[in-house]
């Protein structure tokens, strides 16, 4: 990834994004880890610590203790990096840096966009100053996600946010560099939206050139109330300006080679068309090869704003068009809307042939295209009819959470307690062997939901939350539990790291969790090591009977933390 310009190397999509940011001269990078975006933060972190290998994308396990924000190397001198405490703060920090003139990258998974949405929307109104690219990584089929199969494309509609969708690592490089250029030109943040199959795809990338001069990350905040204060009536003017800006970006999109038509020069299937984007484009090409045919394709690199005229030109002369997109039918609906004007008789296929749930695979797209061109096609059936039950992810052998869960199963009758889960390695408490999980939603929700259940029902409740998750969004919930008076037993699982996403540093290394818990007004606090099972069992039995909220901080480092 740190190779010379012009060199052809194999990169992960995420590595290509990092490369693109470096080539563009990024000066401030903030992130909260989340799969499939985590490698981006890990790589910048390694770079800032002067430790990185070509193509290595995982933070090395068992390395010596990391200090945040330290150690510049030649590249490291050019940027500031931080693992922020949550995505909202990561975005806001990025905003501050951008407003001070720095070039900014903020990276998160799809749910992170929910967390920072409150700041993201008014940010679109003010616009950026230093160019800002926001990487949002979706996870169709939830390979590494709980919560939901969230389609973050909708956030562009909500916030009027330009969004580009690269299909592979080479486009990750190209589109991210363009995003910085767009952001500079139009003074607006630009989202690069990937999926697991893009971020975690490996393919050949031709490395580009680094900015000739590495500008140190020194900016200046110049006062500009018209831009940076989002109060009415100025807010409504800003909205108008934003909508006008979007139309200018749309004009750019109409002319951009990121949106292009293929296969319209030959004579095959000219009355038919496929509209596609993101990794689905690659599956479409594979499908056409499999079917030994050719169909005109409109590949959209811009998801927002859509190049409407380009789409209209594409669909105008056609009889049938298949929209190949993952998850919800957004492009399909847009195409239907445009067709009303330019081609009302057009038959549009999409979610009637492809699922709205789960990632698309090349074989299902082949079946859909076969229907489009009325060709017989059957997915090759495996010759081996073997069915094997699913392997449930569980904590690593030797994980301290086995000690915690083991102690709990001895301390109480699990059926008589409600178990609150949250996001992190301990979310695996739901695995059949452990079976200590009755609800699981989003970061920090274990406490809030637990509070609601306790207010409603008086049943015994134990809510788990990890150290990183506690800092991310658990603290306000804990304060709420105290002042709005419910009495769950909260177990903060302090394994001294952010483990699930690759062992990134956790704020608990610098700030003592028990001090915060005490400051929130909790009276019943115990800090213990779950290796001392007897102590844990006694503490749980004792605290479950308390009239007020109680907190056990179960502290034992993750295997991979020295």
């Amino acid at each position: 990834m740190l190779g010379k310009s012009g060199e052809k190397v194999i990169l992960l999509g995420n590595e290509a994004i990092v490369r693109a940011a470096l080539e563009s001269g990024v000066q401030f990078v903030s992130t909260y880890p989340g799969t499939p975006a985590s490698e981006i933060g890990n790589l910048f972190y390694e770079l800032s610590q002067s430790r990185v290998r070509l193509g290595q994308s995982r933070v090395r396990l068992g390395q010596s203790r990391v200090r945040l924000g330290q150690g510049p190397n030649r590249l490291g001198k050019g940027f500031l990096f931080e693992f922020s405490v949550n995505e909202k703060i990561a975005l806001e920090a990025g905003m501050g840096a951008s407003f001070s003139g720095l070039k900014v990258l903020v990276a998160m998974k799809n749910f992170g966009a929910n967390v920072c949405q409150d700041a993201l929307l008014p940010l679109m109104y003010s616009g950026s100053l230093g160019p800002m690219v926001i990487l949002v990584a979706d996870d169709p089929s939830c390979h590494s996600s709980a919560q939901s199969e969230e389609n973050s494309r909708f956030i562009s509609y909500l916030g009027h946010i330009p969004m580009l969708e690269p299909a592979d690592p080479a486009e990750c490089l190209e589109f991210t560099k363009l995003a910085f250029v767009l952001s500079q030109k139009f003074k607006t943040p630009v989202i690069i939206r990937t999926t697991t199959r893009v971020s975690h795809q490996r393919a050949i990338v031709k490395l580009g050139k680094f900015e000739s001069k590495i500008r140190p990350p020194v900016g200046e905040f110049v006062k500009d109330k018209e831009k940076f204060v989002t109060l009415p009536p100025r807010v409504l003017e800003m909205k108008k300006e934003l909508l006008e800006k979007i139309e200018k970006i749309r004009d750019f999109a109409e002319k951009s080679s990121l949106n292009r038509v293929e296969n319209e020069r030959n004579d095959i299937n000219q009355k038919i068309g496929i509209i596609t984007s993101s990794v689905s484009y690659l599956y479409v090409l594979e499908a056409l090869k499999e079917l030994k045919t050719s169909v005109p394709i409109l590949k959209l690199g811009f998801f927002y704003p859509l190049p409407r005229k380009k789409i209209e030109r594409f669909i105008r002369g056609k009889k049938k068009v298949l929209v190949v997109e993952e998850l919800e039918p957004i492009l399909e609906k847009e195409a239907r809307e445009l067709a009303k004007e330019v081609n009302p008789k057009l038959e549009i296929l999409g979610k009637n042939l492809l699922s709205e749930v789960g990632e698309l695979k090349p074989e299902s797209i082949t079946v859909a295209i076969a229907k489009l061109i009325k060709k017989r096609y059957n997915i090759r059936q495996t010759v081996y009819n073997i069915r094997i039950s699913r392997r449930h992810p569980q904590p690593c052998p030797g994980c301290p959470y086995w000690l915690v869960f083991g102690a709990l199963r001895q301390a109480v009758n699990p059926e008589k307690v409600i178990w609150g889960g949250d996001i992190g390695c301990y979310m695996l408490a739901g695995t059949p062997i452990i079976d200590l999980q009755d609800y699981l939603f989003c970061m920090g929700s274990s406490l809030g939901i637990g509070h609601g259940i306790k207010k409603a029902s008086q049943q015994k409740l134990i809510a788990f939350i990890g150290d990183s998750t506690f800092f991310h969004s658990g603290i306000p919930a804990l304060i709420n539990t105290v002042i709005n008076r419910s009495n769950p037993l909260i177990i903060i699982l302090d394994n001294r790291t952010t483990a699930m996403t690759g062992h990134q540093p956790s704020p608990g290394e610098k700030i003592a969790i028990e001090e915060i818990v005490k400051a929130c007004g909790v009276k019943n606090i115990k800090v213990l090591d779950p290796a001392n099972q007897k102590e844990m069992i006694e503490a749980v039995k004792d605290f479950l009977d308390k009239e007020e909220v109680s907190v056990i901080i179960s502290r034992h480092p993750c295997l991979f933390v020295k």
Binding site: S38, H392, M500
Partner: protein
């Protein structure tokens, strides 16, 4: 390798066995030989003792990073159950090179059940005690993947040269682990009946 066709490998096993490193080495080797390469892998949640599957494709021109059902040329599995699970993407000519290692899980098949299932398949598979051999000869089970890789390469099951693999290992494996991996690779040798069947 046929001109228009790609070579498709599924690498699989249980999270933590080193599948991603193996993938990086193979992808690099293919790049060194001038092929177009695409791969797809899964990280994160799937690795906490869960199944890990990586698709690797190389050839003149590769479009999809995911292999279509029936198109797999080789399934290289670091664990026996996962090797069988990957059979859902296998075709008539798919070869299996499977590490005998079993990492059991709740409601999963027993070793006897697995071996019975394998025996029902045609002869296109090799069950190798890679973990056992690496533990015995080199003291480290985690080298099983590299050993399996060498079995596949030295038996002509992957259309890549040994030199390319060794060079790729130098490029991709951390310096402190390179030597042991080279030793593991040297352990494989042309052995099985499969060596006589060319792709």
């Amino acid at each position: 390798m046929k001109k228009d066709k790609n070579f498709n490998i599924i690498l699989c096993g249980v999270g933590g066995q080193g599948i991603i490193t193996l993938l990086q080495v193979l992808a690099e080797a293919a790049l060194l030989e001038g092929y177009d390469v695409r791969a797809s892998e899964l990280h994160g949640l799937s690795q906490r003792g869960g199944s890990v599957v990586a698709h690797l494709r190389f050839g003149k021109k590769v479009f999809s990073p995911l292999i279509m059902p029936g198109e797999t040329d080789l399934i290289l599995s670091l664990e026996i159950t996962e090797g069988l699970r990957a059979a859902s993407l296998a075709g008539e000519t798919t070869t299996f090179v499977i590490n005998k290692k079993l990492i059991p899980f709740q409601d999963g098949p027993t070793e006897e059940e697995l071996i019975r299932k394998f025996k029902k398949m045609k002869e296109r598979f090799q069950l190798i005690d890679a973990s056992g051999i690496c533990l015995e000869k080199l003291g480290k089970e985690v080298l099983a993947g590299t050993y399996l890789l060498s079995v596949a390469v030295l038996n002509d099951l992957i259309p890549l040269k040994t030199e390319s693999i060794l060079k790729a290992m130098k490029n991709k494996i951390a310096p402190q682990y390179l030597h042991s991996n080279e030793q593991a690779f040297a352990l494989g040798k042309p052995s099985s009946p499969l060596a006589k069947e060319k792709a």
